[in-house]
């Protein structure tokens, strides 16, 4: 068992990349949108699990994936593995009456087999914006047959998000933020457009320092210099944290405004990039870290 944990730790650096997937198509399952029996649900994807808990429907959960680490109580549920490396028999072994899976769950073969099974499979789309979060909540609520509750949670979340976004509305001087996923081998892997990082940066009233590519890509030194980030954003909880010393020891990073002011922000990965009920708080936290008392309450 100890080995298994180590293995997950080894996978963790990749986890971040994989967490944030560009979404082209939005579809809530094929056919099924409501579970006929929602008494035993396997929840795959950290934000889905969070939403189920926020709806107070956690009693229905019989399993979760390894990215579902919040709230802490979720960790007690059987873990069916990393959401991108599911084992179909493992998921079916918990005898679910329904499977709620965040878009991007895989591998494709496993999902195909699960879809073939008699257990209803609902794929929840993942969009990295305000509307996307509300859509997720509504889809999860509908699937579980608690639409009224979901509507209340959506309204509440909508209000929180709106107010979080407003906090930075008056700020003129927008910060340029570079999200660094990893610095493995001295190579800086940064977030482009269509990523969760890009979404949260925009919601927090900042500008993604990267333009011109989507997804996560390695950056050349010159690209880092010309991105001129004011702040480096990193995440914690996905493998060994990126050390400030190491990052700013990179001459290209050091020469940017962020390097001169040694400005680096580290936030928990699931919280920062999850796009779930806690995202409003994450936006606020990030905005405060970026703009300090310029943030209006």
């Amino acid at each position: 068992m100890r080995f298994a944990l180590n293995f997950r730790a080894a996978l963790a650096p990749m986890l971040g990349v994989l967490l944030a997937v560009a979404t082209q198509t939005a579809k809530a399952g094929e056919g099924t949108v409501v579970f006929s029996d929602s008494s035993r649900i396997a929840s795959i994807g950290g934000s889905i699990t969070e939403i189920v808990y926020a709806l107070g429907e956690e009693g229905r959960l019989v399993a979760r994936d390894s990215t579902s680490t919040y709230p802490e109580a979720a960790a007690k549920l059987p873990d069916v593995g990393y959401m991108r490396a599911l084992s179909p028999e493992g998921v079916l072994s918990v005898n679910p009456t329904g499977i709620l899976a965040l878009q991007g769950s895989g591998p494709k073969e496993a999902v195909d087999v699960l879809k073939k099974s008699s257990v209803p499979f609902i794929e929840v789309p993942d969009h990295f914006n305000h509307k996307g979060i509300l859509e997720k909540i509504r889809i999860v609520g509908k699937a579980l047959g608690v639409e009224a509750k979901a509507e209340r949670l959506a309204a509440e979340t909508d209000a929180k998000l709106t107010s979080a976004e407003k906090q930075t509305a008056s700020i003129k001087d927008r910060k340029r933020v570079l999200f660094v996923l990893s610095t493995q081998g001295g190579k800086i892997l940064a977030a482009g457009s269509d990523t969760a990082a890009d979404g949260i940066i925009k919601l927090a009233g900042a500008v993604n320092a990267i333009e011109g590519f989507s997804g996560y890509k390695g950056m050349t030194d010159e690209a880092i210099v010309s991105a001129k980030p004011d702040v480096i954003l990193t995440m914690k909880g996905g493998g060994p944290p990126i050390s400030e010393e190491e990052l700013f020891a990179n001459p290209a990073v050091a020469s940017t405004p962020a390097g001169t002011n040694r400005k680096m922000i580290g936030m928990w990965g699931g919280y920062l990039l999850g796009f779930g009920p806690r995202t409003a708080e994450a936006i606020h936290d990030l905005a405060v870290s970026l703009y300090g008392n310029q943030v209006t309450d």
Binding site: M1, F3, L18, S66, A85, E89, S93, P107, E109, V113
Partner: protein
């Protein structure tokens, strides 16, 4: 099974130095072991589905009490465990046979498709299709469809094997030191090129890649078996015809030729067969290491190096061991699962070191 007990079984009835009776006895045991492994593979898993009951119900046409549960169990047994067990058998047998053939061809017990870079070449081919399949290599994917990936893996492996052979062979003699070192260099080059491709990959492709590079049978589906199964089966079916030639090759290429073996044709057949089988295996299950080196080595200790017995025995033992490793991979962290490449590496790497230590001074590098 100890060598002595097998020796006892064979020696009583045949002439001294003739291990063929013992080999046949071991092969019979291995058939039994494979049957047991298949049974174990079908009956074990994260869920409590009973393969025995599902198959019995299908045969007798019995109507189960709980229809939903029965449907789930049927899916688990017929669409998850069965293709997976079959893929395990195919790939385990292919990897072990390819190891034995490479060792016979290079006249060295350390030769292995994974060790000398054939697998790395196959991986490069496959990764190229995954990453460039919609852009630069779009014509290839258009022309070959689902076969593009196995084909690319095949040609990647073939290119490495031919290159290696050309580098390591001078005047009909294959230098083992050159072969191993060149294999390491070519592996490194193939991995570097793979790295370039990974660098170019987007998130979606990256996900496919990481899943696949770790080596796993998790992608087993019937259509996949339909695609690569015939390649692996054909390549494997051709291998036993090489056994006589490979035996003669143990005396050196020149002597094999004097004994009437068409050595050049033998070498080409072996190289193409190995590349095809390894390429197809890598294409579906990624790099699964050490089966190709450990299995033939153990069997040489038990039944001797006669390829007429070594090749079929390797296929049987390779299939059994891979099924066992997969059963471990599927159940040890259930309901999640480990990539099987990790299980075989953890079991195989120390064993490989043990071979090296035991052979120190005997293996001529």
């Amino acid at each position: 099974m100890s060598e002595q007990s097998i020796a006892g079984a064979g020696r009583a009835m045949t002439a001294e130095g003739d291990r063929s009776a013992r080999a046949r006895f071991v092969i019979a045991l291995l058939c039994l072991a494979l049957a047991l492994s298949v049974f174990l593979s079908l009956t074990s898993g994260a869920s409590d589905a009973s393969a025995v009951r599902v198959i019995r119900d299908s045969v007798t046409g019995a109507i189960p009490a709980d229809a939903a549960l029965a449907a789930r169990d049927q899916l688990i047994v017929y669409d998850i465990r069965m293709p997976r067990a079959l893929l395990g058998v195919l790939i385990g047998a292919a990897l072990a046979i390819c190891g034995a053939v490479m060792q016979g061809l290079f006249r060295n017990p350390l030769a292995d498709p994974g060790l000398i870079g054939v697998s790395a070449g196959s991986s490069l081919g496959a990764v190229a299709i995954i990453v460039l399949g919609t852009t630069w290599l779009a014509p290839v994917t258009l022309a070959f469809g689902t076969l593009a990936l196995p084909l690319a893996a095949f040609f990647g492996g073939l290119a490495v094997t031919l290159l290696l052979y050309a580098i390591a062979t001078r005047q009909g003699r294959t230098s083992v030191a050159t072969m191993l070192l060149a294999g390491i260099a070519i592996s490194a080059l193939a991995m570097a090129l793979t790295g370039v491709l990974i660098f170019m990959a987007d998130d979606r492709q990256l996900r496919d890649l990481t899943f696949w590079q770790l080596g796993s049978l998790a992608g087993a589906t019937w259509p996949k078996i339909g695609t690569v199964g015939p390649v692996i089966i054909l390549a494997q079916a051709a291998m036993p015809f090489l056994s006589r030639g490979l035996n003669a090759l143990a005396l050196g290429e020149a002597t094999a030729g004097h004994l009437g073996i068409p050595v050049q044709r033998l070498k080409y057949a072996a190289i193409v067969g190995v590349s095809a089988a390894v390429g197809a295996s890598v294409a579906v299950s990624g790099g699964i290491g050490f089966v190709g080196i450990v299995v033939p080595h153990v069997l040489r200790l038990a039944i001797g190096p006669d390829n007429r017995y070594l090749l079929p025995a390797s296929a049987l033992l390779g299939a059994s061991l891979l099924l066992l490793a997969d059963s471990v991979a599927r159940t040890i962290v259930a309901p999640a699962e480990l990539p099987i490449g990790i299980v075989t590496a953890i079991a195989g790497a120390p064993f490989f070191l043990w071979i090296l230590l035991r052979k120190r001074g005997i293996v001529d590098l």
